[in-house]
Symmetry: C2
Subunit: 353 residues, 2 copies
């Protein structure tokens, strides 16, 4: 027997490139172009005054961060779970809630980590095709299932379903856990957080990585009924007691506290996005309306990977997925106004407009 016969064999998720090239305009991983809230700097300085606190384990219950988040959303801590980015939260949720022999359902075009988690944990799954407009059709989900995962707004399409649609969907699916991945919700879509008390099987996942400019700190959270959160925490404490390090706890508190800064920067991203939508349209791009901090666009006159290549030659990187149905699209993150001006200029050149 070969040593590797007992090894878990997986095809890992490939994250967007984090290149070390200076002066690159980086529009490929949906990072926020603005720095974290000013309090984050203060927290770093305070920690530098006495770094000896780092010799101790962090609070395993993440108390200070959970309290700050619970306070912000007006919920109790027993309805909240925090993890190392929403990836950690989602991974734990897959491990915790999807243990039936029935398939977990999610769209064919969505966050491409869902099938990776299903594979790594041996969870059966079924990818349900979006319609030709990248819309989820509720009727396609009417089947026996081991759970459902919906990203809203969806990624990489940027398409959002209204809350009323989401609630109708939840009413149809009360037997298994429904995860609503709201990584991008703050950029103009409607959250279903306030439905967690009504639907015991609803888990809403959000992140500090996009709207709170904290991708580097890896902070994600889930909101759900006491029942879901209890099981999720039990599994978390069976994997790693201390997932959130001391800096995540301290800096995370500052990022969530500063609501004025948060609103200001989210509005800035939205304003830039709306302006860029018009510019992309006038360049001939087609795309569904985006409620996220990216635009998922295609151009009828030029191959998407060709555009990507030519942008890269000009020091601008965007994301392209070599996957069926979306290989003619580029996912373009919303950067600063200056960055987007450069993008539009480069695209005009590339397309000879």
């Amino acid at each position: 027997m070969a040593l590797e016969d007992n090894f878990r064999k997986v095809t890992p998720y490939v994250p967007g490139e984090q290149p070390k090239i200076p002066n690159l305009i980086k529009l490929n991983t949906n990072e926020n172009p603005y720095p974290p809230a000013p309090g984050v700097r203060d927290a770093l300085l305070k920690l530098a005054e006495d770094p000896s606190v780092l010799r101790k384990y962090p609070a395993p219950d993440c108390e200070i961060l959970e309290e700050a988040i619970a306070d912000y959303y007006g919920i109790s801590r027993d309805r909240l779970f925090v993890g190392v980015g929403s990836d950690d939260v989602l991974s734990m949720a897959f491990l915790t809630f999807f243990n039936s022999k029935k398939p977990v359902l999610f769209p064919d075009i969505t966050y491409s980590f869902y099938d990776v988690w299903a594979e790594v944990y041996g969870i059966p799954y079924k990818q349900i095709p979006l319609d030709e407009n990248f819309e989820i059709r509720a009727e396609d989900y009417r089947m026996e299932n081991g759970g459902i995962v919906i990203a809203n707004p969806n990624a990489p399409t940027g398409v959002a379903k209204p809350k009323a649609w989401m609630e109708d969907f939840l009413k149809e699916h009360t037997d298994t856990v429904v995860i609503v991945d709201e990584a991008y919700v703050d950029f103009g879509a409607e959250s279903v957080i306030d439905l967690i008390d009504k639907y015991e099987n609803l888990l809403v996942v959000q992140t500090f990585s996009k709207s709170r400019s904290m991708a580097g700190m890896r902070i994600g959270m889930a909101f759900g009924s006491k029942l879901l959160i209890k099981y999720l925490k039990d599994v978390k404490f069976s994997v790693n007691s201390y997932t959130m390090n001391t800096t995540s706890l301290l800096l995370g508190v500052e990022a969530i506290r500063d609501d004025a800064y948060f609103r200001e920067k989210v509005q800035a991203v939205i304003a830039t996005r709306e302006r860029v939508k018009l510019q992309l349209k006038s360049l001939g791009f087609v795309f569904r309306d985006s409620k996220t901090n990216f635009i998922f666009a295609s151009h009828p006159a030029m191959d998407a990977s060709e555009i990507m290549k030519k942008l890269r030659e000009r020091g601008i990187i965007v994301r392209h997925f070599s996957k069926p149905r979306i290989d003619q699209y580029l996912r373009i993150s919303i950067g600063t106004d200056a960055e987007m001006d450069e993008l539009i200029k480069a695209l005009a050149e590339i397309l000879h407009r």
Copy 2:
């Protein structure tokens, strides 16, 4: 069908208490009594100068930290894996390497997370009793297995096996992965890191939490053959692309670089430990010789939980495990000299010596 029928049901690991009571002498979680290396403060100050880097994702390949660790140990990066504390590393290793129907073997008295990981991932396991002196008997492991996990030095016993014994053991077990958990090795035991080239199935796990005073940052690592590390990284990238946040990467580099500081503080802990051993002996405690930053001691004249309770009344906390065979023992972390003086004074009072 009830909603929770599909949920994973586990009995989580219970970490040592992290109480918020001020002025407590905290000898219950094997934290280093000394602060992290001075460079850690500098790294915090530097980050505070420009916290905008936190808006970006960290490098998913953990390049700067992996390079610093690889450089320190004189190995290549393809023999190294880093994670969110050694718990994350061990958890991923269980998930990656233990996929047979045969039981994974580990001692009955050892780090009490091993059986928790086996349970959460559905891995069959068999706990092999230590002998009456808390020693591992190599002959007891001569059976078909799906892998072996040995903590060396063992926890909570503190007992270390010499390298020659470890190599004899490795020679007997080449068909499945052998994990050697060296969380405490820097306090006087012998590492088997340099055997990773000789035994393709050997995975050595270490941590920044104890000897490098960085429990708060959650940094652990594994050393192994290219084969093991490749599979481990594939699974990691199937769970969470960015486990290590930007602060872990930046501060971790500083902690590993400062070898002089590391040696000085490890020697200080060892010196305190050796002195405390003599004092505990003269108070009538019995214990196996410890090569860790804790002493696992029992007193023939007083119940261990009673001693623990009385220490707590005096503001000193130590760890007690209500488990068969070790419920008459206390695991006492090595603190500063002043803290250990207080401990010895309190114990003398409690024992009327």
